[in-house]
Amino acid sequence: MTPAATPTEAEITALHEKLDREAEEAGYHLNPDRTFTRDLVRGLLVNTARYGYQSCPCRLASGNRSKDLDIICPCDYRDPDLIEHGACYCALYVSGPILAGTQKLRPVPERRPSPDQRKAIREVRTTSIGGLAYPVWRCRVCGYLCARKDPPEICPVCKATKERFERFI
């Protein structure tokens, strides 16, 4: 692989602040452990430089963006993991109770299906029910739904890009 990365402290601070602001605006919370979270943000910057997309620092990216759309941060698994475990897989995002310190942060098991399972899921996603004036698109990151010819360029709720949408109905 390419050389290891060392983003500057200023770059880390800038992305950390941006992610924190966007998270709070959308009702999410970043992990309050500053050192821990800065390490994760460093990993995001490293991965963006290395692969060209902001893949999860705690998962091995393939280098092929279309195969890794589900693990581009925020990943497809963040919301179910926040509900079930109080944190996303890498623990960049945490739930209210974890933020408040009333629930302890524990390791989150990997929810991402294996490569073979992911291939099968991609095939199933292409099927849909007809009969509507417009297809309904669902953002796989935050669940936002919209009925229109194509999904939006950017999710108006969570800012995920167009290719993160799946045809829902």
């Binding site: 692989m1 091995l60 989150v108």
Partner: protein, 100 residues
């Protein structure tokens, strides 16, 4: 843009108290992997670790085959003790117990 630094791209051996063959498969960007690596160091246990994400393509594939043998999800950190016991994730109590 690429960042550059001198992070090791091979299997690294760390000497310490013998508790069998202890191998940590990790990612250089993963904070839970970092915590696991620090735990092993603080326990002073003889072990090896490798940052799989920094390996050249072919070596990475070979290393992933090893990881998947013990942890079919291929997730990190994966800690393998004596080629038998496998602990997936930073499960501090479990790791401490296994290496006590």
């Amino acid at each position: 843009m690429q960042y550059r630094s001198g992070i090791t791209v091979e299997i690294v051996h760390v000497s310490g108290r013998k508790r069998g063959k202890v191998m940590l498969f990790a990612l250089s960007t993963c904070v839970w992997c970092k915590k696991t690596k620090e735990l092993l160091a603080s326990l002073g246990v003889d072990h090896s670790y490798v940052f799989v994400d920094l390996l050249p393509e072919k070596e990475m594939e070979e290393m992933m085959e090893k990881v998947m043998k013990f942890n079919p999800k291929g997730s990190f950190p994966t800690l393998v003790i004596d080629d038998r016991k496998c602990i997936v994730g930073f499960r501090e109590d479990e790791i401490r117990e296994a290496l006590a």
